[in-house]
Symmetry: C2
């Protein structure tokens, strides 16, 4: 399969496909300062919970290069300042904070020299990227358990190569199914307001030769009523300890519709997207974005210019509407606090988990 490689580190710069230009232009831009990385995350030139974390990691590398001529104490202070700045780029996806915490710990606990810390920071950024790539593959493998040989699935937003460091989460399962020779038909929600489904997912699937049918978000209910949908596969930006999940706006509605139509509804995410410090989804901060994202498309107002807008970027799907969370370490069916904590602390070995749920 021809899968995009939208984020890489080269010549001391972070290179990303500018996702705001897709699908009309496939352009890679290079980011060489912390501020540029912050802006790229905030503007959604790079988006998707795992990809945001990876980009932020490379942002810390850029910070270390910027300050490498300072004495070690100042060097550390400056980087921690930049880390705190990067934390403010977006509020919902937990991967951003978990990645930045790793760098914060590395720097705070290090008693090495500036060049040694610089090297360690670059190695950590590359390791986080490689780790996510591997987790995508593991997710793709585990996910096959819920995908029949001939499957019709529905997905929302973009959860593919453009959202991660590898083949993706929900789309990673679809790519893997295709590689295994399964026959797929994919319905793609366009995902208003920023159209990640039509701009990115339809683009990725076409690129990989997988048949996709684009729909407006409000057609999903009719598709569920009139087609046999085997699975709804979506990503996650943060999963609370009880399984409540923040994901792209529209996910919650899909989960309610799936429940009504008796269609399995799967959250697909690496374990790095879990935030066990939060008891439930009500504690996950939801980003509110600019009204213009709803009112302007392709540079033109599609509503009166002064109309009020409610524009939450994410919603919360309660765990009881989630059939299973598909992770890189296996599948958590009927997620709840008990199962997720046991799973996370490895009390269950993977075969035992499956056995206990049958």
């Amino acid at each position: 399969l021809d899968i995009l490689n939208p984020i890489y580190w080269k010549n001391n710069s972070l290179h990303i496909i500018d996702q705001t230009l897709l699908p009309s232009r496939l352009e890679t831009i290079s980011l060489s300062s912390v501020r540029e990385v912050w802006t790229a995350i905030q503007r959604l030139q790079v988006r998707g919970a795992p990809a945001i974390g990876i980009a932020a990691g490379y942002g810390v590398v850029l910070s270390s290069l910027m300050h490498k001529n300072q004495p070690v104490i100042t060097f550390k202070e400056k980087i921690v300042e930049d880390i705190d700045y990067l934390r403010t780029a977006r509020p919902t996806a937990v991967n951003l904070f978990q990645v930045l915490d790793q760098f914060d710990n590395l720097i705070t606990n290090s008693d090495e020299t500036v060049p040694e810390i610089c090297l360690a920071i670059e190695q950590l950024a590359l390791a986080i990227h490689a780790d996510d790539k591997d987790r995508c593959r593991q997710i793709g493998r585990h996910g096959q358990e819920v995908i029949p040989g001939s499957a019709t699935v529905l997905t929302h937003c973009n959860t593919g190569a453009l959202a991660t460091g590898g083949i993706g989460t929900a789309l990673g399962i679809i790519y893997t199914a295709k590689e295994q020779g399964k026959t797929l038909q994919v319905f793609v929600d366009e995902t208003r307001p920023l159209l990640q489904g039509s701009r990115l997912t339809a683009f990725e699937l076409e690129h990989a030769g997988i048949p996709a049918t684009l729909i407006s978000d409000n057609m999903a209910a009719m598709v569920m009523a009139t087609h046999k949908i085997d699975a709804i596969l979506v990503g996650a930006d943060r999963i609370a300890a009880n399984g409540d999940t923040a994901n792209k706006i529209g996910t919650y509605g899909l989960a309610v519709l799936a429940h009504h139509h008796h269609i399995p509804f799967y959250i697909v995410a690496p374990l790095t997207t879990f935030d066990l410090t939060l008891e439930n989804g009500q504690q996950i901060p939801i980003e509110q974005r600019a009204a213009e994202e709803v009112k302007i498309i392709s540079g033109n107002y599609i509503s009166p210019e002064n109309t009020s807008v409610f524009n939450p970027a994410f919603d919360i799907t309660p765990h009881h509407l989630i059939t299973a969370v598909i992770t890189d370490q296996g599948i958590i069916f009927d997620p709840d606090k008990h199962k997720i904590q046991d799973f996370y602390s490895n009390k269950y070995s993977e075969p035992k988990l499956k056995e206990s749920l049958q």
Copy 2:
């Protein structure tokens, strides 16, 4: 309230606000041939089930003017041909066919002269328009029963002056509530793909000074979960004998979501939108429209150009998800075949209906 007057007959031409240009341009165009009326309906320059019927009626007037110099038999044949042509403009809204049937009957059963028939045709077109205007007012009045003094409602597509011959159906209830001094907050689904919510409803409500908040269709579920919504009010393009209702795509999903959140879900339509010849919603033809409506916004592709699209213009909401149908003759709570047939044949007087349902 300042309510638009988007359709009127003047100087032997039909004048309509070209709704494809809203909200950026408020322009009235004049239509002076049957083909122009057909095209305006097909292109959605005029839309909304009642307004389509009204426009088609004036189309028949234009046909009669075009053929008035023919002998009476040819005159009648030509008009019936034009009537059959107008029937093909759009398939789902029943008002189009019911209006055209009235003209067909008038012409077929008339033994008058050409000038007399011309006059009768014009009078019928004007009467259909006036009748719809009156029905909108009656709907607005009956609808107050379900709207509290301070209300938050959610609506979909456009059901206002731009969709009817008067103040509208669902929006007519909102306008009437405002006139009665009720405090209103209206959430408006943008209604992809053609954005009748953002382009038309947000425009109408702003024009009338009613506070509106625009949302993407996929935000409706979160709005229902996080706000106290008193009522969801939507229109209808055709209501079958058992209460199953065809309306703008997305309506069915809203009904499922309303059911899940225990929010009353109201279909608002004049009795002219009922089609008692169809037993249920499965028999209502659903218009499939061009893929480009989903793929192109403001002249630009928002998806890969070759992406496949599923673009049904309407969906079917089964009657068991409908709290009530609000009509110009009163409210039918818990609609089913029995209640609608009784209601339609006036077995129930209005007070008796309400009494029997309490």
